[in-house]
């Protein structure tokens, strides 16, 4: 019996299957290879993949587990395939978007034209939790604030793409994009045959080039680049070790660094070594206790002033959170129009703001239809899935919203697309999203043709975050000259 026996799309947009049950053209080859695979063999490959994950230590830390258990992130073997034309569209959209968001960040920390011209409400921007007044007037190298961005895209029932959010501070997950590919080529080498899949392995090379280019001019010959991590107890610590290793740079914690006369050094057993570029995976608040949180032991006193002096570069820069604020998100289409004078390529999801009195009334009256999110939290925390919540949960949440309207936004529930995932002994549709990684360097924007596809492993669930039981898939972007070029609506 085929592993796809009785597979139902249930009215959702399915990445692999047309509503009539036949595979989409760009999935046809893969379908044929998988459909006839005996269950036992598929299982064996799953075990092989799991073993590779554990052996490589590809894990995330389970919070609150006293034994310090590290679990592998569930990896679903069936790749998600994106045809070339769709990818071109995504690439255009995200390039446009990151260009605009960077201009926006620069403007906000300088003249604030956009606020004066009222294209975005000033209250929203200047009152955003991650707006850093202290950085007004600061000039990051090359005027680039966001060097690494991970944007979350979803598709609705019609298959149209939307940007759901941007991660402009310390986006994570790219290690899974790279690792998933490595594992899949080991476990299912024959699946790759004859499919013109674009490679992703130049991501770290490109990132390293961009990071090195950020070094102060006189140090650019052979700059010292480090990756700054909050430490072993951070849930993304595995990724930090992976990236440091791939980039060939030292993985440091705040206590490994010190600042003397506005120069950053790392403490080594052979004396202090000057640091030129910091790829930091630590939030603004914990960078420098002199600047932000005197109680924080994570940071490096004087780091911010060293950064201001230009002796060291940070990627990403400080204060970028103002542009990925969930309330500012509602205006990102305006932001694109304002700075680039063109229509946004990728649309966003309609968003209601708690800070807006009219919107607030709408949110409170339609809690059963909306997804409400906390403007200041990420990772799927602090949110209400209105349609599936109980009346009590909704009532409780309504109180929270009323108490602090500025902290909430709401969006209609999008029936996000699904792709087959393996469950026990057959495939079933599961909701997915798409997180491409965008690199912004001195010579422009690069998007490696690949992504992290996150899967809500629980049946019916819309939440794909790893902290909430999500898994991931390898994501194949097909090259232009692929034989199965098909029209897909975008």
């Amino acid at each position: 019996m085929s592993l796809f026996h009785n597979y139902q799309t249930e009215g959702f947009y399915d990445e692999m299957f047309l509503p009539n049950g036949s595979p989409r053209p760009h999935y046809k080859q893969l379908y044929e290879r998988l459909a006839n695979m005996p269950l036992e063999e598929y299982r064996r490959r799953c075990q092989l993949a799991d073993l590779t994950l554990v052996n490589q230590g590809i894990t995330f830390l389970v919070y609150g587990d006293e034994r310090g258990t590290e679990k592998p992130w569930p990896f679903d073997l069936i790749p998600r395939i994106i045809p070339a034309n769709e990818w071109n569209y995504i690439e255009r959209g995200l390039t446009q978007r990151l260009t605009a968001l960077n201009l926006f960040t620069h403007d906000i920390y300088h003249e604030q034209h956009i606020l004066r011209d009222k294209a975005v409400p000033a209250d929203l921007v200047l009152g955003a939790a991650h707006f850093r007044h202290e950085f007004m007037g600061a000039d990051p190298p090359g005027g680039i604030y966001v060097h690494i961005c991970g944007s979350d895209l979803i598709r609705d029932r019609q298959g149209s793409y939307y940007v759901l959010e941007d991660n402009l501070r310390t986006p994570s997950g790219v290690s899974y994009m790279l690792e998933n590919r490595i594992i899949l080529t080991r476990v299912f080498p024959h699946l790759f045959n004859n499919l013109n899949i674009q490679s992703v392995d130049h991501y770290t090379t490109r990132l390293m080039q961009n990071l090195r280019a950020l070094a102060p001019e006189h140090r650019r010959e052979s700059p010292v680049v480090v990756l700054l991590t909050p430490g072993v107890y951070n849930s993304a610590y595995y990724e930090h070790t992976f990236l440091a290793q791939q980039l060939g740079i030292e993985l440091v914690e705040g206590r490994d660094l010190f600042v003397d006369d506005c120069v950053v050094y790392m403490k080594t057993t052979h004396g202090p070594q000057r640091v030129d570029v910091i790829y930091r995976r630590v939030d603004d608040d914990y960078l420098d206790p002199l600047m932000f949180r005197p109680d924080s032991l994570l940071g490096v006193p004087g780091l911010v002033n060293a950064y201001r002096s230009g002796s060291v570069a940070l990627a990403n820069s400080i204060g970028t959170g103002v542009a990925d604020d969930k309330a500012v998100y509602a205006y990102t289409e305006n932001i694109v129009r304002y700075y680039l004078g063109e229509e946004p390529v990728l649309p966003i999801v309609e968003t209601y703001l708690g800070s807006n009195e009219k919107h607030l009334q709408h949110i409170l009256a339609n809690l059963d239809k909306l997804v409400v999110k906390s403007a200041n939290e990420s990772g799927g925390y602090g949110m209400l899935m209105g349609p599936s919540a109980t009346p009590q949960e909704r009532a409780l949440f309504a109180e929270k919203i009323k108490a602090s309207p500025r902290s909430y936004i709401a969006q209609p529930l999008i029936d996000i697309s699904r792709a087959p995932a393996f469950t026990e002994d057959h495939f079933e549709g599961r909701h997915i999203d798409l997180r491409p990684y965008i690199l912004y360097g001195s010579d422009g924007i690069t998007i490696v043709p690949g992504s992290l596809t996150r899967v809500a492993m629980r049946k019916g669930s819309y939440v794909v975050n790893s902290s909430q039981g999500g898994g991931s898939k390898d994501t194949w972007v097909l090259a232009e000259d692929t034989q199965m070029g098909v029209q897909t609506q975008c």
């Binding site: 202290e134 007004m136 003397d260 002096s309």
Partner: protein, 307 residues
Amino acid sequence: MLLRVIHTTRYTYREQVTENHNELRMMPQTDQDQICLDFRISVTPPARVFAFDLPEGTMHYFNLRPPHASLLIRAEALVDTHPANPFAGMNLAEDDSTFYQQEDIRIEWRRYLTASRYVPLLPETQRIAEMARRQSGPGTASFLIALTRLLHRVMTYAPGSTHVNTPLREVLENKQGVCQDFAHLMLAVCRLCAIPARYRSGYIYTGNLEQEQSPASPNWPWPESQDSEQHEQLIGGDAMHAWVECLLPDGKWQGFDPTNNLVADSHYIKVQAGRDYADVAPVRGIYRGSAEQNMETAVEVRKEQTV
């Protein structure tokens, strides 16, 4: 007026400390009212001092890595103050409140209209605003003068009665505090009344006012007249001073000093402006070592004849 400021701060630590990082906000700004002719900072043990231009003004920064048991910071400035008549732009008789209802003003000065760390917007301050309103003319300037006077009258200046983290509500209840508290309280009232208001750190010259009058101030409409006698008992000369600046409908920022019941004039040397004390604290530091430290600070402001 040519004024020289010598501001010394000495820290003594119970045990040797290391990794001492400090940010200083002590340099007088240069604008249309004053020119900072000279400014130097010396640190003992010696350290290299860096300067950064930040939104609030110039910040100086240095760090000391080797162990040390004391730290002396000496800042010396020479400033020429020559403010225009502070009352020239004040309209006392006309209701100019529509100025503050403009959206542009609210957007541009949002930062000085909302609550900040030390300045919560307490509903209780509404009463103070109403009281000041009853004692003033229709103009905003008139209201602010009345508010300055009211706070000066109601509040007792009591050194040591508060510390930097005393909540404003407590200051309001006990009706006493130091210049920071006077300033924070006035900020709270102004912001509640939608008048953009910022915390101003600086120095004040309290010495004898010479017989000659500043040319800019022949006819001050100050009811009790802002004259030499009053200056002789000024408060705030032996430390860094704080007062409030409000945006007047002529688009200029004017200083009001509730501690001394004065409108800022040539005796005032402006250093930095921020939302409250937290933004402009003269020394902000962090070090590694014993938490026990003692700080002594001394400010001397004297008049100079020539540069």
